[in-house]
Symmetry: C2
Subunit: 360 residues, 2 copies
């Protein structure tokens, strides 16, 4: 994917303590590729960050960390994807703070597919997990890659649903890619590394630390074109992912639930703030296909589309209730009630002047 010394330079920059993505982007902008950055004198570089930071570039710790990362990257199925690589996910280039590089384990081609983030509570209800898995399976069958965070609860269910379809799944880790967290998901992580993709921006061996997860969440939302929150308490990490998604211009979707369930309060807050209420996977697929992101939702047997007699009698021109009564032999109230049903199903729209029109 790149010359070995090229990769070494990328790793050297990112593994040097004190050099964050934003400083590195400034360096790349000013001097070119990492090899060119590193060919500059340390005093020249020191105009962009404290001198001590650049002195650390050649420390034993950094040299050894680079060496370990190169060994890791050389193994079967492993890759380090940098900002300069063709495989670097395009959607991340649109976000405010794209990572300099990503450690990847699995099917790199998934980074080029349309994707949907599916996230939610670690302490989900059984029904919430069933919803997450069923929705994710439908999305994956429709060709969307499911992005989530390998946490217990909703994330786990979303990954499992994703793995069953052609869209598969990407797990973005808040730890080093060689650290399995949570331990209970070791089996799932293994499955994802074989038919999906594990991804992390953190150096190898980075242990789980609370402050890394919100940072990771911006990648979950950033990698996807939309973000579905299945169950979330107020103040939970899933809402941070949803906020990232909204800030990144992604569509936010949320599944409602009982007003008495603490795990629905986060979703309800999102809907109040403008997220789309979602009752079925088709709700999401229609929205995304309308924006050209994925294929249209499969028509289901339950839809009124073809079989509804009133819809057939309407034709495609605007029509009033009286004419519909005449055509259908129904009373005005029957027609009104059926029109309302069709309107709510998105098949008919009400026009000014008491007219109605079929939509599809």
């Amino acid at each position: 994917m790149k010359s070995d010394s090229g990769l070494a330079s990328w790793l050297q920059l990112t593994l040097t303590p004190g050099l964050g993505p934003s400083t590195i982007r400034q360096l790349l902008k000013k001097f070119g590729l990492p090899e060119q950055v590193l060919s500059r004198s340390r005093s020249e570089l020191a105009r962009m960050a404290p001198r001590a930071t650049f002195d650390a570039l050649d420390s034993t710790e950094v040299v050894e960390a680079v060496s370990r990362a190169r060994e890791w990257a050389a193994q079967e199925g492993h890759a380090v994807v940098t900002l300069a690589d063709e495989a670097y996910p395009k959607p991340l280039l649109e976000i405010a703070d794209p990572p300099t590089l990503l450690y990847a384990h699995g099917r790199l081609e998934l980074l080029g597919r349309p994707a949907l983030a599916v996230v939610g509570s670690r302490n989900a209800t059984a029904q919430g997990e069933r919803n997450a898995e069923a929705f994710a399976r439908t999305f994956s069958e429709a060709g969307l890659t499911i992005v989530s965070g390998l946490a217990l609860g909703i994330d786990t269910a979303a990954h499992r649903g994703g793995l069953t379809g052609r869209g598969s799944t990407i797990a973005v880790l808040g730890t080093g890619i060689d650290v399995t967290y949570p331990a209970r998901n070791a089996g799932l992580a293994h499955d994802i590394s074989r038919t999906g993709l594990l991804l992390s921006e953190f150096p190898l061996e980075t242990k789980a630390a609370a402050h890394n997860f919100p940072r990771r969440n911006r990648l979950i939302s950033g990698l996807a074109q939309g973000c579905l929150v299945v169950e979330a308490a107020l103040g939970s990490g899933s809402l941070i992912t949803a906020r990232s998604a909204a800030e990144q211009g992604r569509e936010v979707f949320a599944i409602p639930g009982s007003i008495h369930s603490p795990l629905s309060k986060g979703c309800h807050a999102l809907i109040k703030a403008g997220a789309k209420l979602v009752e079925s996977a088709d709700d999401v697929l229609s929205e995304l296909s309308g924006r050209g992101i994925c294929e249209p939702a499969t028509p289901r047997g339950g839809r009124t589309t073809v079989t509804d007699p009133l819809l057939t009698q309407m034709g495609f021109d605007p029509i009033d209730v009286d004419s519909l009564c005449a055509r259908s032999g129904l009373s005005a109230d029957q027609v009104s009630s059926q029109l309302l049903r069709l309107e709510l199903a998105g098949l008919v729209t009400a026009l000014p002047g008491g007219l109605f029109q079929r939509l599809d």
Copy 2:
């Protein structure tokens, strides 16, 4: 409330078969009060509707029906309120098709109060009925009169909740006001006639007929400043009421629920179409008090308002996360997560440029 012969003329017009509210309004507009309409020659009137209709004005059936209605109106607690009466509810004057007169039994003064329609399924869940009653009680305690349709299920629970507070309740019937429908609600109707108000636009003795209920529903929404749907299946009458409310410029509110409950699908369809998602009675009261319709919601113990330390540290000027970290001693991630929580609770708003501001 008006001269006896005046009332007789109003009744004579409305009790004549074939004369609907819209024709009657045209007659009133052209000739003045009903007494003046009736003083015109029948051939003069016949320019506005078929001659046979006006011939029926003096039929035995109409004369006897007027007489029975006058006897009914003379009884304690009974009234007939016409378009010309001071007591005629002002909100109904704004709707497309206000009834010419209303039969009323109970506390007429409730027609002058701010009101909220609370409607929903006849086959409600136990939780739905509990929600309806609890919400209605809170609204009524806040001074809102609960308007509903005396049906079983949600309507019944809403009326019961309304009766417990100072706002009380109005039941708008789809039958004659002297017909108890459904029979199982005879006791509730009796209670409402004593401390609330029964209302109908239909002539005495009008039996329950399917086509009268959608017509009645426009009055439920029209009498109120907002309409809350508690539980409703797709295609149900409650959605017709909600649509009337929207057409009449009333705010529509809906309570979400499980995506697997058929009784939540109507509410979800409304929220998708723009209705406000409601988790608590306070959600409705805040919205209505913001529009000057009722008193502000009572602050509850559970609110973060005063006790949240970060909120206190924010002050009331825009502030960035770094400054908040310095003030609070918290990490950037902790501050971000707390800000999100406060934002979702409506206590803080995010401003451009990474600034946040306290809202109350």
